[in-house]
């Protein structure tokens, strides 16, 4: 059947969980010690289920979290403090050790993205990689990336078919992705009443999740369907949680918060590719620094036939489609 190559892949996002990145003997020992400690206390305390508001420590942490400032207005010390609290909360609530980074934008970097319409064959590896990397809610099946199956003659994702369950690729059809365009002139930022969504110096449009009040005006303002809302408390199986996180990126979101693609800020600020670009089996996804003349994205912009979606709206996206 050629199933491995031709996947009908919408449903198979969660079946494989990525191997723990830093699993080693030391990590194993650390975990074993911790598990023993927890087991010990459970025996001593009679293994009480946590109360209505969780443990006393959990409540104290959440109380302090409630009064914290907007991320951009925090001092270095306040950022460290909130990250410590969040890491501790993850430990208390889910018993996972996450590392939350607050790495700033690198100077001289402006991120841009290219999507090769000719190459994409609709396998949707990007979608599942994104879901895993960014700890997206499995309960409501949240996805930042959408792939559309296009008939010849169509040239914008909204004209294509967003729900297709056939094997891919289909002869005579082509595929287009849609995700946050990280507009330079972003309507969502203009709309947000609390400045919870804003543009970082490297051009990434981010949401300070904890500052968002959940009014969803940004969602109405976005012409690219780039934003997702947490209608329910997001659920990620503990085994599948990506532990390397960023405050503005893939850390745990809560019910009532807006979220969106961050160009995988937790990866790209470390010099790695976004999960979608790395996962793409056909090399249709190009990512890089627009200010670096030697970058791949600059090569694409200078040598390929590129276009942007809904250019007429003046949003100035940093997401280009191109044709080989």
């Amino acid at each position: 059947m050629g199933f491995l190559k031709n996947k009908s892949c919408r449903q198979q996002i969660t079946d494989e969980h990525r191997p723990c990145q830093d699993s080693g003997r030391r990590e194993f020992l650390k975990k074993a010690v911790k598990a023993a400690a927890i087991g010990g206390t459970a025996v001593v305390t009679g293994c009480q289920a946590p109360g209505l508001l969780g443990s006393k420590e959990e409540f104290a942490l959440q109380f302090q979290e409630y009064f914290k400032a907007h991320y951009r207005l925090m001092t270095e010390k306040e950022r460290d403090a909130t990250i410590n609290r969040l890491e501790r909360l993850a430990k208390l609530q889910k018993n996972v050790d996450v590392q939350i980074s607050s790495k700033e934008a690198m100077p001289g970097v402006l991120f841009g993205y290219g999507f090769n319409v000719t190459r994409c064959e609709g396998y949707m590896e990007c979608v599942s990689a994104c879901v895993r990397e960014n700890n997206l809610d499995r309960k409501s099946n949240t996805q930042y990336i959408r792939i559309f199956e296009m008939e010849p003659g169509q040239m914008t994702p909204d004209a294509g078919k967003g729900k297709f369950f056939n094997e891919v690729p289909v002869d005579g059809r082509f595929y287009m992705g849609a995700q946050c365009n990280h507009c330079d002139n972003a309507p969502c930022i203009k709309a947000c009443p609390t400045k919870a969504t804003y543009k970082e110096p490297d051009g990434i449009v981010v949401v300070d999740y904890d500052w968002c009040i959940g009014c969803r005006y940004c969602m109405a303002a976005c012409p690219y369907y780039g934003r997702r809302f947490n209608w329910n408390e997001p659920v990620v199986p503990v085994k599948e949680i990506t532990k390397k996180q960023h405050y503005l990126g893939n850390r745990q979101r809560r019910r009532g918060q807006m979220e969106k693609c961050t160009f995988c800020v937790q990866r790209t600020r470390e010099g790695r590719l976004p999960a979608c670009a790395e996962a793409c089996p056909t090399g249709a996804r190009i990512f890089g620094n627009l200010l670096d003349p030697k970058s791949e994205i600059r090569f694409v912009l200078e040598n390929k036939k590129v276009f942007r979606w809904k250019e007429e709206l003046g949003t100035d996206p940093k997401f280009w489609y191109f044709i080989d």
Partner: protein, 409 residues
Amino acid sequence: MTQKSSVRQMIGFITDVTRWSLSGGIGYQLFLCLLVVFMMLGVFAYLVQWKLGLAVTHMSDIVSWGFYIANFTFLVGVAAAAVMLILPSYIFKDKDFHHVVIIGEVVAIGALVMSMTFVFVDLGRPLQGWHILPIIGLFNWPSSLLTWDILVLNVYLVLNMSIPAYILYCHYNNTEPDPRKYRPFVFISIFWAFGIHLITAFLYEGLPARPFWNNPLMGPRFLASAFAAGPALITVLLVIIHNTTVFKIPKQTFNKLRLIIVISAIINLIMLFSEVFKEFYFPTHHSLSAEYLYFGLDGHNSLVPWIWTAISINIIGTLLLAFNPGKNRPLLLLPACILLFVGIWIEKGIGLIVPGLVPSPLGEVVSYAPSWVEISIALGILALGMFVVTMLLKPALIIEHRFKSEKPS
């Protein structure tokens, strides 16, 4: 007047107002109990939403605003419509309107309370609401139209509470209010009434992502429909007051209100016709929302019966009020006003919000109907608004009646 006696007077005013608003016949008490029951239903539904998140509504990432925001939009219009009584009575010194202006102002307060509560229940994280407050939070003004709306709605609420409160307090003490003290604020509130509804329209009008909303007619049309729906509601209220209290409304007031409603309703229909013409004479990609609303799209036609009902009863109501075959008799006046009110509620509520969001920017079409939680919360908020109006209106009418009967005319 010494400080002490004025404090005592104020205390007397407050206790009397409380006493008057809570005391009444058995029918009145039953009515209040009924409102409390509905408010409790709303509170219960909100607790469910609190516990499980907005997932209990039928909103989704595509229809991200639904029944709550639809009602919010409509009720801002009802609040703004008080200006149709304030303008003639304070500026043109119209006697017939001056007699009932307090009723218009109280309706505005009730509508504002309701519309703000609707926004509150729509928030994903209401506990974080302080993030939007100026100084202690981050107030994205002047960039975000939502901050403008918060600003104008709250100021309008303060204006509409303080002007009548001052006038009523003077009437309670049997003195003439000093126009120099309140007239400047009346002028401000008139401009403000247009402001609240224009800015609420700009909330939608300013989004190029949504072609159905990104339409310069939105603001003027909001005003026209509001000045029809608001006075229609006030007419209904006046008929009830006229028939159940000693506070009698002159016939002339009804006639003048009817004229205001008819003119606004006709302007509203002309603008509606103009919009429909634009969408369907030469349909473009941007007309898909209108097609979804009026005829259904891809088999999703849940809004179709609603919008055609709305347009039909809009036209019937307007015709009934324009030709006035009942000669202002409540038997015909009341149904006509109710028809018009409901028609505009559908058309400007759910008929405006949902098609703005469908098809989604990715071209996806879905259906939306409010869930039981949304409907229960909306009923609760409606009861809250009626409760506020009742609580304020009853003492206000007693004071006004006493003042008028004691005044030698």
